[in-house]
């Protein structure tokens, strides 16, 4: 494949459009998404989507323009290059950033995620371990039936599987050529129980911002035996919630399981550390950050127990890759170590703009969007405390799991999050189930109240396909692995009567 890329790049370089610009790059992707779902006993109509196209950038006298086209012939790419060059010339001296030749990648390499290889592309079912479609439907029907379980109070249930296969390639006028193939697998289950105007939902999966079982890999990630047990558990928990009292209110200890920790990491560590936010690019939309450039290297973000890494090299985590969309080779970096802030989430261009170290995280959501600073896999490192010991150490608190509500200010500081599932912890023992568990806090102080970090046995590798940001808007996949964690003196509260 690298030979093909080199040939196309050569043809574009020799084309008159290529000769009229100082540098160019082409990033092509082909994303195939298939979805199967059974809801309330009925299979939803199957759907398949293939999105394919390329984004071409041109640099002229230090200004950059881009153009996105679905016509990926050399002629189509050359036409897009003309449009991109036209924009670069119009921008001219009004460019915020003067592009340097070294901003154009010269990286070369190939990467195949777990479950895919060079000969097992999206169009070849053989060899990919893909089960017959009839088996998928049968498994989903069974899972959905388990979610309902004959309970009269269950008013909605759905079992689904989303599979997305991505081929992406990039090549540049500086000789850069990269090729990556990934498969994203997202099983999801949800059940809603209702009585009168009261309803409660339990879920796992990638829908609607919920905690995700999303991973990269093969169809073996659709683990029917595991999901069958989960379906039974979710139904029982939804029914328990319907009969449960509201979560108590007041300052108390908070035990967050990984299904909520992923949201907590995402909103109050990931987003505030994005360097383009710190540089102000997102101030009109996603927002700015309470983190300022002078904090890196010294700011005490959390307690000594807080260790956070950016790691796109974790095999099978949802946002793993070998190169970001600017061509920077990916590697693991420490963002926060023993509570001290070390580096932001910033791609190569942002690093140059801010004179700060960063990460390989310039990412684009699709073929028609330019890359910006994003999260990828953002993980909290495991501690050494078993879950039982975390619970035993709590005199008065609540355990929460599975995000259902998320809201945070545009500086990523004042937040309020809610979960599907709560259990009171009293004198070191798990006690009654409570509904509508919520908590609020301030990022700048919340992580300093981290008083317990679970051991490796408590870690779950999760992810979500729904991280939104950017102008124009972009939705990307992110991965978050986390242990269970305990926070002290958190403002906890429940719903209305």
């Amino acid at each position: 494949m690298l030979d093909d890329l080199t040939r196309i790049a050569g043809a574009l370089r020799d084309h008159p459009a290529g000769a009229r610009v100082d540098h160019f790059s082409v990033r092509w992707s082909r994303t195939r998404t298939r979805a199967w779902s059974v809801r309330r006993g009925v299979a939803e109509p199957p759907a398949s989507t293939v999105a394919e196209g390329a984004l071409v950038t041109a640099v002229v006298n230090g200004a950059e323009g881009w153009a996105a086209t679905a016509d990926v012939s050399v002629r189509g790419l050359a036409a897009a290059l003309e449009v991109a060059a036209g924009w670069a010339r119009v921008v001219g001296a009004n460019a915020l950033v003067t592009m340097l030749p070294t901003d154009v990648s010269d990286a070369r390499g190939e990467f195949f995620g777990p479950g895919v290889g060079p000969d097992t592309g999206p169009d070849t079912g053989a060899g990919r371990g893909e089960p017959p479609v009839a088996d998928l439907w049968a498994a989903l029907r069974d899972l959905e039936a388990r979610l309902r379980g004959g309970a009269a109070a269950v008013v909605d249930a759905a079992a689904g599987l989303d599979v997305t296969e991505v081929d992406q390639a990039a090549w540049t006028s500086r000789g850069g050529a990269t090729w990556q193939r990934l498969r994203h697998v997202s099983p999801n289950l949800s059940v809603t129980a209702a009585r009168g105007s009261e309803s409660q939902r339990r879920s796992i999966g990638g829908g609607g911002g919920d905690a995700g079982t999303c991973r990269q890999g093969g169809f073996d990630l659709f683990d029917v035996a595991f999901l069958s047990g989960e379906a039974e558990r979710l139904r029982e928990e939804a029914l328990q919630l319907l009969a449960a009292p509201n979560c108590p209110s007041g300052p108390m200890q908070l035990l967050l399981l990984p299904g909520q920790m992923m949201l907590q990491i995402h909103e109050s560590i990931g987003h505030p550390l994005e360097l383009d936010r710190i540089l102000g690019d997102e101030r009109n939309y996603a927002g700015t950050s309470f983190v300022t450039p002078d904090m890196f290297g010294s700011y005490k973000y959390g307690s000594d127990l807080l260790n956070v890494t950016f790691d796109p090299t974790v095999r099978g985590e949802f946002a793993s890759y070998a190169f970001d969309d600017a061509g920077t080779p990916a590697r693991r970096e420490w963002l926060i170590r023993k509570g001290v802030l070390e580096r932001p989430l910033g791609g190569a261009l942002s690093q140059r703009r801010a004179s700060l170290p960063g990460t390989a995280n310039a990412r684009a959501s699709a073929w028609d969007r330019p890359p910006i600073d994003r999260m990828a896999n953002l993980n909290i490192e495991a501690g050494d405390t078993p879950l039982a010991a975390l619970i035993a150490g709590i005199e008065r608190g609540v355990m929460m799991d599975t995000n259902v509500s998320w809201s945070i200010d545009d500086s990523r500081n004042k937040f309020q999050f809610g979960c599907e599932w709560g259990r009171v912890i009293r004198d070191g023992q798990l006690a009654e189930v409570v509904k509508n568990p919520n908590y609020r806090g301030i990022s700048a102080t919340f992580w300093r109240s981290l008083s317990g970090v679970g051991d490796a046995a408590t870690v779950e590798v999760l992810g979500t396909p729904f991280c939104g940001k950017g102008e124009p808007n972009q939705m990307v996949r992110v991965g978050h692995a986390s242990p269970a964690c305990v926070f002290d003196n958190v403002d906890v509260f429940g719903g209305e009567a």
């Binding site: 759907a47 999105a51 323009g65 924009w87 209702a194 102000g280 927002g287 200010d409």
Partner: protein, 440 residues
Amino acid sequence: MSAEARFHARATRLFTCLRGAEVAFLSIEGESTDFARFNHAKVRQAGHVDRERATVRLIDGRRHASVTIDLRGDGDDAHLLSALVEARGLVAGADEDPYLLYATAPGDTRRVESGALPTPAEIVASVAEDAAGLDLVGIHASGPVWRGLATSLGHTHWHVVERFDAKVAAYLGGDRAVQTGLSGATWDRARWRDALATARTHLAALERPRRALAPGRYRVFLTPTALNDLLAMMNWGGFSARAGRTGASPLRRLAQGEVALHPSVHLSEDTARGWAPSFTDDGFVRPERVPLVTAGRHAGELVSARTAGEFGLTPNGADPDESARSLALAPGDIPSADALARLGTGLWVGNLWYLNFSDRPAARVTGMTRFATFWVENGEIVAPVPVMRFDESLFRVFGDQLVGLTSESEELPDTGTYGGRSLVGARAPGLLAEDFAFTL
């Protein structure tokens, strides 16, 4: 050949490939957009998207499936045929769908709104020249957006809106900022400069010393922009027939008559005055107006074709997600010019941000203030207020806490671009309420 003629010609050729009793729906969504992104009144990123995304939906008896592809230009007949063949394979493996429902009677609509949009050079000049001296950040998106539907049953629908959406924020520093914007079919540089001039006026007010308020209940005036964010929360399942029947609607208690809103609240899906197409991908034509709340009482819901099949209802032009595309809140009787005076002492809220439910069955919503929020005393702006978190029930804000609505509404296009430029919008007045709960 125009995009419209090209689309219908492709559809005609594709439908000749159908077999037996097969029925095909071909829908398209396209755009040709200039995007320019700004920071510090300079161009951060600028470029152009040409995209046409086609969905082939194949129906064979009660089995159906859909395949979506990006059209390339050349060779698309073969590309669409491949999609049809793939859909045929999916249909073969699909169950019969007891909820399948689509418009069988042919229909046609056509709406083409042409404009005079800015050139790339004019877009850059609108910031580089007109925003001189401002720390301006934001986005300008400009170009035609189109939707089409053709079916082998004879439906032909076409919808084009040429529009620009400039949305920017001017910053004083930190989080002190004013957001403004201009949308329309015809670029008017004078109106754009007026918008920036108004922003400069508000920035001057933001320079005053800030006043931090303790959490508590305050009288508030929500601008149409801020109010639209609360309406969007109502629209997150609140008008959906399916959500109402599956425990997911935040307005279930309203629909069941357990609560009522203020008698001055009248909400409707107002397709005739919106930007959204007047047809659905199932071939149904949307009514010009669907009443949702009348005089504070539940008056209707949005029913998609599939929900109609599932629950034995009549579809009324809703898309599968059953959210309003052109939600309208009727104005009240407070002249906008009197809003500050009627507020008296309290908070003037320009924008809300990042809303979510803290208790969905209770329609309780949390979120933040953002951009310009001012403390007002005796009808005069006294001080800007740092961002605050609120947590309040829609049943109260639009219920017994509601004091009044302004007599003028604003058109509020959704400038979102996830997956493509939006044709959703809303129309809302400003709202005066008392005892609005701020928590952090």
